[in-house]
Amino acid sequence: MLQLRPILSTLSRHRTAALLIVLEIALTCAIVCNAVFLIANRIERLHFPSGLADSELVYVSTSSIGRDPESPANTRIDLAALRAIPGVRSVAIVNEIPYGNESDNTGLSMAPEQKAPTIDVSIYKADAGGIDTLGLRLLGGRDFKADEVMEGREFDASSDPQIPSAIISRAVAERVFPGRDPIGQVIYLFNSHPTRVVGLVDRLVRPQPRNDDAHDLYSVILPVRQTFNAGMYMLRTDPGLRVAVLEAAKQALDRRDGRRVASDSGLFTDLRDDFYRADVQMVWLLAGVCAALLVVTAFGIVGLASFWVQQRTRMIGTRRALGATRAQILHYFQTENLLLTSAGIALGMLGAYAINQWLMTQYELPRLPLLYLPLGALMLWSLGQLAVLAPARRAAALPPAHAMRGLAD
């Protein structure tokens, strides 16, 4: 059944062509394995959850022309106006939101005189009720109490803000209090004043997540009431009412007074989509290149196999005349293709590994999981078999008498 010897001896007489096809398959294998891995990586990144109730939130921001001395009072009036909009469940004002441009970061220390901070965290500032508006899941402890909340201006003007309490994300808790209950523990943020952890939320992503690891989830919420110039309003509503609520919110703020400039506003999910747009495009681009590579390689195999069938017409005729069945001719070309693809895959695996090594140094990518190698091999074997099928069937269909005389058609 196995016809390895005649195949090998034929191939050795077409070394250049055989080598080329092996090389092409190897290159394709190496690139496609890594491209698919990159695609999987990007898709994982796209699904990195924010921890917020994404589809129920809209954001609106506004700023005054120049400084507004009455901004705390005006902020309260704004909040009341926004809460009065039909369909709005709750409203909060925060200093930064995931996928936004604002980002406030500081070092978190475990001791007052610590030289270098333990970790770097993103600082979210919110009033009591803020975590509920954002849709964060409280795992333990409690929300802020009204008497803990500090005015944003007071916080900004103080060179030594004393923050009594903080709510931390689970990622922070697991990093700085491993195996311990974080509620009631003490952290140090800006200075030597202790801040007590009063609440634990499951997840809250930094404004600009990039690496999709724990570091992107190091967030701390502080009880600070922002003013409208230094924050943005987050409105929680039903998914279906978002567009109407957004328009009503913009109008409500516009009506408030003429000394305002409307800034950014939109649906939170749109903000998230914009943030990840480049990644989505990259996924499509990588997928397109993979498809193009596979098509080109398949055509290469078809082209070369057709040529070989044509060239070996006489041999096929002789074999058929000597009693070889059509199936045997078919298998001959299929086995030949299997050998070539296998060689290409073997070489391609080494290439895939080398490219991955290089990508790891350039793009902070993890190592290519071993699972990709058999998957890539399977894909190329199928591709090779599929591509060779038509030429091989044509070879098998040659009438022996014609073939003997060297007539391909």
């Binding site: 250049t16 062509a17 080329l20 096809i21 090389l23 092409e24 290159l27 394709t28 690139i31 491209a35 990159l38 700023s63 005054s64 022309i65 120049g66 400084r67 030289k115 270098a116 900004d156 003007a157 103080s158 060179s159 030594d160 803000p161 800006f190 200075n191 030597s192 400039v261 800034s263 914009d274 747009r277 480049a278 495009q281 990259m282 681009l285 990588l286 290149v289 193009a292 590579l293 080109v296 390689t297 055509f299 290469g300 082209g303 070369l304 057709s306 040529f307 044509q310 060239q311 350039q362 793009y363």
Partner: protein
Amino acid sequence: MFLYYFDLALRSFRSARGLTALMVLTIAMGIGASMTTLTTFRALSGDPLPGRSDTVLRVELDAAERATFVPGKEPDNQLTRFDAEALLRDRHAFRQAAMSGGSASIEPAADAPGALKPFNSSARYTTADFFAMFDVPFRYGQGWTAADDADKAAVVVLSKELNEKVFGGANSVGRTLRLDNADYRVIGVLDAWQPVPYFFDLNVGRYRKTEGVFLPLALAAERHLGNNGNVTCWGDSPTPDFRVLEAPCSWLQYWVQVRTPSERQAFLDYLTQYSVQQHAAGRFQRDPNPRLHPVMEWLSVEHVVPSDVRLQLWLAFGFLAVCLVNTVGLLLAKCLRRAPEIGVRRALGASRRAVFAQFLVEAGTIGLAGGALGLVFAWFGVWVVHSGTQSGAQWVHMDATTLVTTFALAVAATLLAGLIPAWRACDVSPASQLKAS
């Protein structure tokens, strides 16, 4: 002879239409993909300051605390206000400017075109040399002077776009701009000016539109105009305002222009000396570690070209490599199939050289056709990138260089691909082929 080979090539294409089309298409796809990514890469990694990028330098001082020092790490790329003012005062370089990004609300006058509502504009707060150092073109008027910086004169320079928006593109020099509840006298309007990348302050956006208004830095700091960009503070005592002179916060970009390499060395020596002094005075905790980066080096230190764009470039050239290997294979198959024809030509007196040349011309012709089709693909690809959301995409355009490179690359690549088949073709022995047929 060339024309004859060309004619032979066309005949051979007609006799194998499918195979030829396949080869042209393959080459075109590879070339199209490569040229699209190459054009994008070139647009995003171009020289934003042609002719001057070697002599305009970014200044870095290592002013941060010792506790966070990491050996070998690039120092903080921004300066504190204290250091920036000290360097400006000393004026040791040919030109120097400190700057920061910001934003300000603008209330257009009642006669502004289209009853414009108040709006926020991006702003740049800087010092007098900014315009001369970066060779900024003026449409009307000019920039301010060092005396205006010192006096905190309420003057403003507008970008071309903002002048069009607020003053309808007229010569607005001498008019008043209402900005954050205060009046500023317009002293200059820029002509079209768009550095790509936005090299002097990458924190406000690596590829972004030129800021709308330019104001004296000292004035903006005094009036607390809104600041945009990165602010890094260190030390135990947090300061409520990073803009005050003594604040241990870096937030200013500092650039100098030198005329000669010796001036550059002299300026670096001066920075080292300054660092030593500050260290002795107790302000700097780290050892002197000043750096000077010319524009292009600065862009590479900051990895300004998005890593995805680099990745796409590699990917496209990988794809081109596969396309080429494929073309070599197909050309080889095509040429071996024509062994009898070669045998006849050789028997009739064609030399090996002639056969070799004939097959190279054939390969080159495929390259030309592939290049032409590749150009269409590249044009389409560039259009897709241009209308995409990659930051800086709006500055990706098809240009003459891309056009020429596309054809050159296509022909060179196919000639390379044609070498093996042509070599094999001229190696055909006439006798055996004639006998076989």
